[in-house]
């Protein structure tokens, strides 16, 4: 059992729930009936399942003949399919009030991503490529200083979550918070990817696609706002 991975997942869940409560306390409570915590949790579980399934198929393991291998999350989760499945789940579960729910879980999603990245501390998996910078960290028994790249990503997500929570108070146009969160989520991984040790450079096309999708959503929100007829004073 991968307890450190489980602990990292618990940190992500806790960060997401705390963000939802913080938002509610600040008066950013969602104008929707859905249980936001349930929506986030369902999307995460479906995303993990589909991502793991895609990783298994991609590496030549038949999920039908080896069904229990799905539980071996450490064996790899395909980022792109996982993210798509999570987004599709949110779209399905909250289909009657999609924009409101997407906006309402935007801050919590970023906070959960930050919590997941912070989970590198119990997993002892924060380090990336070598560097001479003063804040470089070393592995036990090694003299090679390395970027604490997972902590960089955690900082990006947690700061972005805090900023978005503050900005949301100003009543953003519907959909803008969700689109911004999507852009930050993808950009946070894209900018830190070169600092991560990997085989073949990581799934940067998926992160780029996430940014493009988010920018498209921002453009659609802008179009909607501009084309809306002005409200006549009574």
């Amino acid at each position: 059992m991968e307890f450190t991975l489980l602990f990292a997942a618990a940190m992500a869940f806790a960060a997401g729930v705390l963000a939802l409560r913080w938002e509610a306390a600040r008066g950013n409570a969602a104008d929707c009936a859905s249980d936001l915590g349930q929506v986030l949790l369902t999307a995460t579980i479906v995303g993990l399942f589909v991502g793991r399934l895609a990783a298994m198929i991609g590496s030549g393991v038949n999920p039908l003949t080896s069904p229990m291998d799905i539980l071996i999350v450490r064996g790899g989760v395909a980022t792109g399919p996982a993210a798509l499945a999570a987004l599709a789940t949110v779209a399905f579960v909250a289909r009657d009030e999609l924009i409101q729910v997407a906006d309402a879980v935007a801050v919590a999603s970023l906070a959960a991503l930050g919590g997941w990245q912070l989970g590198c501390l119990p997993r002892e998996a924060c380090l990336g490529t070598p560097t001479d910078l003063p804040w470089a960290m070393t592995q036990p028994g090694s003299s090679v200083g390395r970027h604490p790249v997972e902590l960089y990503a955690a900082a990006i997500y947690l700061v972005a979550a805090a900023v978005l929570a503050v900005v949301r108070k100003r009543r953003l146009a519907p959909g803008l918070a969700a689109a911004t969160a999507l852009i930050v989520a993808a950009a946070g991984r894209l900018v830190t990817e070169p600092l991560r040790p990997s085989l073949g450079g990581g799934p940067i096309w998926w992160y780029t696609a996430g940014i493009v999708l988010g920018l498209g959503a921002v453009w659609a929100v802008h179009r909607q706002t501009v084309s809306r007829p002005p409200v006549r004073p009574v």
Partner: protein, 163 residues
């Protein structure tokens, strides 16, 4: 109801779709001793990643594709050795044909797990030893290894060898 029956039938057929694996090109795995393993690493003069696996180990199946990719990626700098433990020769060969096919990994057998014990490992598989060019264990990773950890530890090995 018909749709469900059809889906169930399709799943059954899919589970049976695994083609019979051809093991004729896989040589028998030579039994290795701890001294022989260390000597071979020293003679090669390169750091080595020694992955302990068994065909009956589900998690080993999960990490095998990653190890195959890594062995191809780092073939110029690091040797990859597969240490098969407590396994039947035929099952081991079938596993190699299915999951390590074409990867530059030299597989040997540690029938009773004594080499793993000598290197400081446990009876649980999978586990991975990162060994310096002088044959000393630099790090041991217990359980399934992920891409980031593998890439990081190989980088540490290569830098330690170069430095």
């Amino acid at each position: 109801m018909k749709l469900r029956t059809l889906l169930a039938a399709l799943m059954l057929v899919a589970t049976a779709c695994g083609a019979e694996v051809d093991t004729s090109s896989i040589p028998d795995l030579a039994e290795v001793s701890t001294d022989a393993l260390i000597t071979s690493i020293q003679e090669a003069g390169r750091p080595a990643v020694v992955n302990v696996w068994a065909s009956w180990c589900g998690p080993c199946r999960s990490e095998a594709p990653l190890l195959s990719s890594a062995a191809r990626e780092y073939r110029e700098t690091v040797d990859f050795i597969g240490l098969n433990v407590r396994d039947s020769p035929e099952d081991a060969k079938r596993f190699i044909a299915e999951f390590f096919s074409g990867a530059p990994i030299h597989h040997v057998s540690d029938g009773d797990g004594s080499v793993v014990a000598d290197l400081g490992g446990t009876t649980g598989v999978p586990l991975t030893f990162f060994m310096n060019a002088d044959g000393m264990v630099a790090k041991t990773h217990f359980g399934v290894i992920d891409e980031r950890t593998l890439a990081l530890e190989v980088d540490e090995l290569v830098r330690a060898s170069a430095g």
